[in-house]
Each structure stands twice: as C-alpha cells, then as structure tokens.
Amino acid sequence: MKYYRSHVLIGISDAALQAGVKEFETALRNELAKKNLQDEINILETGPLGFFGKGICLTVYPENIQYTDVKIEDIAELVESHFLKGRPVKRLLFEEALKGQVNFNYANRIVLKNSGIIDPENIEEYIGAGGYEALEKALLKMQPNDVIAEVKKSGLRGRGGAGFPTGLKWSFTAPIDADQKYIVINADEGEPGTFKDRLIMEGDPHILLEGIALAAYAVGATKAIIYIRGEYKLCIERLRKAIAQAVEYGILGDKIFGTEFSLAIDIKVGAGAYVCGEETALIESLEGNRGNPRWKPPFPGVKGVWQKPTVVNNVETIANVPFIIRNGADAFLQHGPAKSSGTKVYTLMGDIARPGLCEVDMGTSLRTIINEFGGGMKKGIKFKAALVGGAAGVFLPDRMLDVNMDFESLKEYAAVLGSGAVLVMNENTDIVDMLWSVLRFFRHESCGKCSPCKLGTALLYDLISKIKKGEGTMADLDQMVMVAEMMQQTSFCALGQSPIMPIKSALDNFRYEFEARLNK
C-alpha cells in the first residue's frame, strides 16, 4: 500500500458542486503533479463536512485542519505553502473549528460517524472503518430472531417522525409465511427543512446498505427497494455505485458470505410528492399509482408492496442498525434517555450562525443544539422561535428551549421530534407570515383523497391569507383552530392530521402577533 504524507478530504455536497468543486479538484491534482507531490499528498472525495454556506471545504489529515470557501485561485498558494512547506494558509482556515468552537461531536456519532471522514465512493474505506462487520456477525453467528431481539432491546425508534419501535415493527413481519417479503427504505425526504437522510446517503451510503441487509435478514426479505426523491441526484449516483461495489465484493447478491441468505437492493426514484413520505402512499407510488395513502389495517408489515409483507423504514433509522448489531444493544442504550435511546441527527437552518447538521444524543436540549452546534444566533440577533420538526412541526418560543429533545419529553409539551428539522427564527421574524408559508405548503401537498384534508388545507390557507393581509377577525382565528382540530380527528393520514400542530403552537405562544394583525 502506498504511504502518503497527508490526506486531503474534499467535501462533495450539492453546495460544493455548485461552487465548482469538480473543477477545483482537477486543478488541485494538476498543481500537485506540477510540484511532484502526487505521491505524497492523497486527494479523497468525501461527503459533506457538516457546515454549510461555506463553498468548497477541505479537511487535511493528519494535521486535522479545515479550510473553507477555498477557490481555484487559492490552489497555487495552498500547495506551495501547506503541502510543500508545511505552513497552513491562515486566511483560508475555518477559524471557528480551529478555536475549538465547532463541536462536530464525532466521538458520539452513530449514524454519521464516517461522514466527512471516509470516501463514500470506496467500499474498502467503509470496510476499513469496521463496516459490514455487523452483517458478517449477524449472518454467521446470529439467528434472524436474535437480530430482532437485539434491535428491540436497543429501544431504537423510527427516525422518520412517528417514533414507532423498530424491533416491534420487524417482529410483525418476521413470522409471516410468504413467498416474498420486502424492505422498503423511505428516502423520499420531503419535510421542509429536513435533509438528514441526504447527508447520510451522500456521506456514507454503505451504512444504509448494511442496515438494509440486516433488516432483510431479520425479517426474511430477499428484496429491498430504496425509494428516493428525484431531486437527490448525488445520493442516487452514490447509492448506485455503492450497490454495484457491494455486489462485486459478494456483500450483496446471492448466498452472501456463503450462507443461504440472498438480497437484491433496487433504487426507485420518486416524482415529487410530500405525501409519499407516508408509508402506504409510498407503496402506491412504487406500484405506479398516484401516491394516495391506503387504508390501514392491513398494515404494510402484513400487506405492503404487491400485497406482500413489507417493512418500511426511514434512512436514519436503518443507519443505526449496524452499530446496534456490531456493538450490542447495551452500547446503544448508553446514548440518550431510556425510552428514547440513541442519537438523533438534526438539520439546523434559518437565522443561525452555522447552518448545517449535528448528531447528538437523544435528550439534548434545543438550547444546546442551537448554541453549541449551530454557533448561536446569526449576527447575535435575538432568538424568537424555532420551528421544530418541519411543516408538520411546532413553533417553540425561548422559554421552551430547555426542553429535552426526545420522544417522551417533547410529548409533554404537545410537541414532536418529527424529522429533526430545526428552523431558527430571530426576533425580526413575522410568525403570521411563517405560519402562512407553512399552510401554503400543506395546501399544495394535500393529495386530495379525503375531504377533510383536501378542503381543510385550502380553507386554512384562505384564513391565514386573510389574516396576513390584515383583513382577518377573531372569528377567523377561532375557525382556523376549529378546522385544524376537525382535520386532526377525521383526516385519512398524517398529512391532514398535522396542520393543527404548527397552528396551535403558533397561536399558543405568539397569539399577540396574530391579534395585532386582525381587522378590529
């Protein structure tokens, strides 16, 4: 094996691609060759490095130095100064990281532990980081039921929003005798403000594949489908490469590791519909139909794709499984509180100093997440509210920032963990406008299958538009709540049941703003 003096990791994300990272990489390689450094400095592509709005980002090991917003014009200086003479280029350094102000929390990561460190397009790097050990352990030393028991014991709950216990979900499907069972991965990430699954798939696609293989072994499925949204071009490309590599290495395909277990993973690309995040709507879409949700029961675990038993899991949920099997449920239970074990990936955005992602233990307070991992408020402007959980989320005011972010604690506040989106708003934000934007989203995304949601989302949008224009009355405010409550009770799926959450939390915490806008 070649020995390199330094490794340069280039973060490849949509944002970096837009900043011209590919041209940058070619130019960097050329410059290194010009200085005859190509055998000393290794260039690797990796996933997003975890901070955004910073253009092209590099991490250099073993120095562990981060550069941000590097341009093609900087290459000559970078190579000459850093890679030839060993003096880092100060003006390009990511200062906050250098001062230890950015907490990447790598030591505590489960899902994103490799992201930004390994080359996601090289299976050997994943294997080198302990990847596929869990699958080997499961296939050679564990029975399917042992895998389910371990996941049950770990307390892992679904990370897509609802928080249903994963092991329990699997245990419904496992005992069913069927000629074909499926694992379906919900990668149709559409909750506004959520991009955690994209980061997992871009940064470490193999962790998802390994998790899928474990789930398939546990429930007896031999086919898996990743349903991914069409806009995630880079994810699709990386997953395709990862699947091809895994097949080539005998990790996927027929008789894996010489056992009787076989698995084929397929990628299906969605066509743009928020409701397809609902598992039965997703299944309808997979079958070539409009993405209208199905009646439950039967649940997908019993009758899913093509009426066959199907386990539908979110990307982040499944990405936790390799850790649980490799290290045991007890190791997983070390993270987070008892009833919400493990970690959670949050995406931070809005009026925050460092938009990006963080993975922290369940139960970490929102205040810590915003201040420690998001760098606090942008330009120091005072905090007003955070919309937590996406459109189907809740507006939380400052006094609720100390709430622990886990399923149980949030329930006490009638809030939800949702998808992990944290949209931070400063004191200049107009909450009426924000709620209008949320309700516009619901109006657009209602699938139209059931009347409460189809009519209700349109009515809610009309009411909030009236209030936004200053034409609303107290009766309109009351009607908004009444309609949303009625939708919560009568809508067919979670989409129509959700608008009550942003509406009620906005009115409970910021009612004065709405009242000030009314036409009295």
């Binding site: 959520t194 299906k268 743009g272 070539g288």
Partner: protein, 151 residues
C-alpha cells in the same frame, strides 16, 4: 425515442413513473405529450386516464410544453424565511413571466417547488439538475444571464 426507452423497462405498471421520467427528460420541451401518453398506455396496457392521474399528481411532470431550462424555486418555510419571495419577484422581472409560465424565447420555465433539502443554503432554486443556493437578488440575475449567454 419511445422504443429505446421502452426497451429499458418491462411492460409492468410499476415502471410507469420511470418511463414517464425518461420520456419527459428526452423531450426537448420537457413535457409529456398526448402522443406520449397514448404510446405508454399501449405499451403498459394501462388506461390513459390512469396515466393522466399519475402525471397530474406528481409535481415533476408536465402536460404543457416547457422551456429548455426549468427553474424550480423553493417556496417552503426555510427558504421563505430567507427571502425566497424577493427572489421570486426578481425572477419575474428578469424573465418576464410568472410561476407556471415559459419565456417567449422558450429558454426558461419558472416553477415553484417544495423543499429541495438544501436548506442550509436557503434560499435555493434548481435549474434542471443543478442546485443554486444562498441566492440574492443580484446572484439570480448573474445565473440567468450566464445561461442566456451560453444558450
């Protein structure tokens, strides 16, 4: 064109969405014509009304001819907070069309879309397969001019 695309897929209904994607991508005006729907219907043995149901359900499909470049501006809450409304106003002025319309020269179609999952860089838009983030009223002008110049 149709034969080439059909050859890639078995004639089963679950391939409908992918066949429609491929046909739309191949068409210079990025849309699904009546002829296309008819051909797909025959190939898959699926009624035309089912296919229209699917096309009109998903936002990525269009039954109307569109421009060479499709601009999809995110209007979800994170981008809205970061001023996507102003970006929309600017795009309307620069292009001379509203959302859902195509410029007279056939170069651009302006559309709204829901969250693209690039919220760390809000406000965001996608032009064809490329994502553009941290948009300002100045930067959108530059982006549009660049595409206009390069045709």
């Amino acid at each position: 064109m149709y034969e080439k695309i059909f050859a890639k897929y078995e004639p089963t209904k679950d391939n409908l969405i992918y066949i429609l994607h491929d046909i739309q991508d191949e068409h210079p005006q990025h849309y699904l014509s009546e002829d296309a729907v008819q051909r797909v219907s025959e190939y898959l043995n699926v009624p035309v009304n089912h296919i229209y149901g699917v096309i009109t359900f998903y936002t990525m499909y269009s039954t109307k001819p569109r421009g060479n470049n499709i601009i999809r501006l995110c209007e979800s809450p994170p981008c809205y907070l970061k001023g996507s409304d102003n970006i929309y106003k600017k795009l309307k002025t620069v292009l001379g069309v509203k959302a859902g319309e195509t410029t007279a020269d056939g170069l651009f179609t302006l559309e709204f879309c829901a969250c693209l999952g690039v919220c760390g860089n809000a406000p965001v838009m996608m032009i064809n397969d490329d994502v553009y983030g941290n948009l300002t009223e100045e930067s959108v002008v530059t982006i549009i001019e660049k595409i206009r110049g390069g045709k």
